[in-house]
Amino acid sequence: MIWEVFRQERPGEYHAHCGNVHAPDRELARQFAAIQHGRRKPTNSLWVVPRDEIGEIDAEDVAFGGTTDKSYRWATTYSTAGADASEVAESEDDQADAEQRRGES
């Protein structure tokens, strides 16, 4: 039986899929996942989920959005003069991070 494994690096972050393990039951799946997926990278928590329990909908089933370029919505494209309010600066940092992640994925 295959268990998909999701790893959370730090408390509060999302669990991201990182691979799977073969195990006959949940307890062994947890133990195997700890070694296979929690040993070499910083890990706060792992989820193990039976593969059959995961519902999937893919690009053949439905036309997903996200194909048009909406980068004009990012406030990072505006140039401003002088110091911004801290809320604005934080928000811009968040957006720049998000944009960078999007570029990497």
């Binding site: 393990v21 073969h22 062994l28 133990q31 195997f32 700890a34 070694i35 296979q36 040993r39």
Partner: protein
């Protein structure tokens, strides 16, 4: 009377002998068990269990290194301990040196269980050691050992679910139990380069009494064995396995002593399998003319 092990120089010969004897039995158990576990690499029943056992082997090697490293303070380096030492001078119990029957996974998980419960108890008895380095290192080791015990227990429960698996466990238990008892035997002080003394064998019990008296370990071997039995016997019986010990017997201690194998490892007498294993694990070192052990990390401190 607690000794002072704050500074390694100025130890009395009694303190030094107790320290060396304790650390070789601790380090040798870990070192040799890791070597045996490694034989399962790419041969375990599944990729996952292969990795889990390899992980445990790597942990045990790290623990051996932590114990051997404390001996560096009294002038015994890792090379001398691991590669240059006479195999008869190793002080591990015979449980860890026995070869595995080909493909006998029941042996591997049962051995791991018997060993890891014993290890947990002896680590507990080292947490308040009078030697600051020993006390400091226990925490790191215990954090990894918890996984080893859970892994072994999970496998035992599952193997015991059907007759075939339980039969294999019973065979392994009948074979391994007497050797597991050697873990609680007093060790003859290792020679470690010094000349052998005729009285060494007779000194084993006295030196272990010194280990406790000097506060290096806070429980006696008898106490550790009795605690170990109170954990492993009920658990194994709950899996419908028969343990060759009657804890309600009139003289359970004598019964247990009678079960002990002739060669106990701790007394410097080993099974033939150990000499073969030692030959194998030192072969690369000898044939390539190595002069030191390989390290990829800085020496542990504290």
């Amino acid at each position: 009377m607690a000794g002072s092990f704050e500074a390694s120089d100025g130890l009395s010969s009694r303190e030094r002998r107790a320290l060396e004897t304790l650390l070789t039995r601790l380090g040798d158990d870990e070192f040799v068990l890791a070597e045996r576990y490694t034989e399962w690499q790419v041969r375990a029943p599944s990729l996952e269990s292969d990795l889990a056992l390899a992980n445990n082997a790597q942990d045990e090697l790290g623990h051996a290194r932590l114990w051997y490293d404390v001996l560096a303070d009294v002038g015994l380096d890792e090379r001398a301990l691991a590669y240059e030492r006479d195999p008869a001078d190793f002080r591990h119990g015979t449980l860890v040196e026995l070869p595995f029957e080909t493909g006998d996974w029941a042996d591997a998980v049962l051995r791991s269980y018997l060993y890891d419960v014993a290890e947990d108890l002896r680590l507990e008895a080292l947490t308040a050691s009078s030697h600051p380095k020993i006390a400091d290192r226990v925490g790191k080791i215990r954090s990894e050992e918890k996984y080893h015990r859970e892994h072994a227990r999970s496998w035992l429960e599952r193997l015991a679910e059907d007759d075939d698996g339980r039969g294999r466990l019973q065979d392994a238990l009948d074979r391994l139990f007497p050797h597991a008892l050697t873990l609680f035997e007093p060790a003859v002080p290792p020679r470690l380069g010094a000349k052998a003394s005729e009285n060494d064998v007779a000194k084993a019990a006295a030196v272990d009494a010194d280990v406790v008296d000097l506060g290096l370990r806070t429980a006696t071997l008898e106490e550790l064995r009795s605690e170990w039995l109170s954990i492993v016997v009920p658990f194994l019986e709950s899996l419908d396995l028969a343990v060759a010990v009657d804890r309600d017997a009139e003289n359970p201690e004598a019964d247990l002593d009678a079960l002990l194998p002739d060669a106990r490892g701790r007394d410097g007498a080993h099974t033939e399998a150990w000499f073969d294993l030692h030959d194998e694990l030192t072969r690369t070192y000898r044939e390539l003319g190595r002069t030191e052990t390989t390290t990829i990390m800085e020496a542990p401190d504290g």
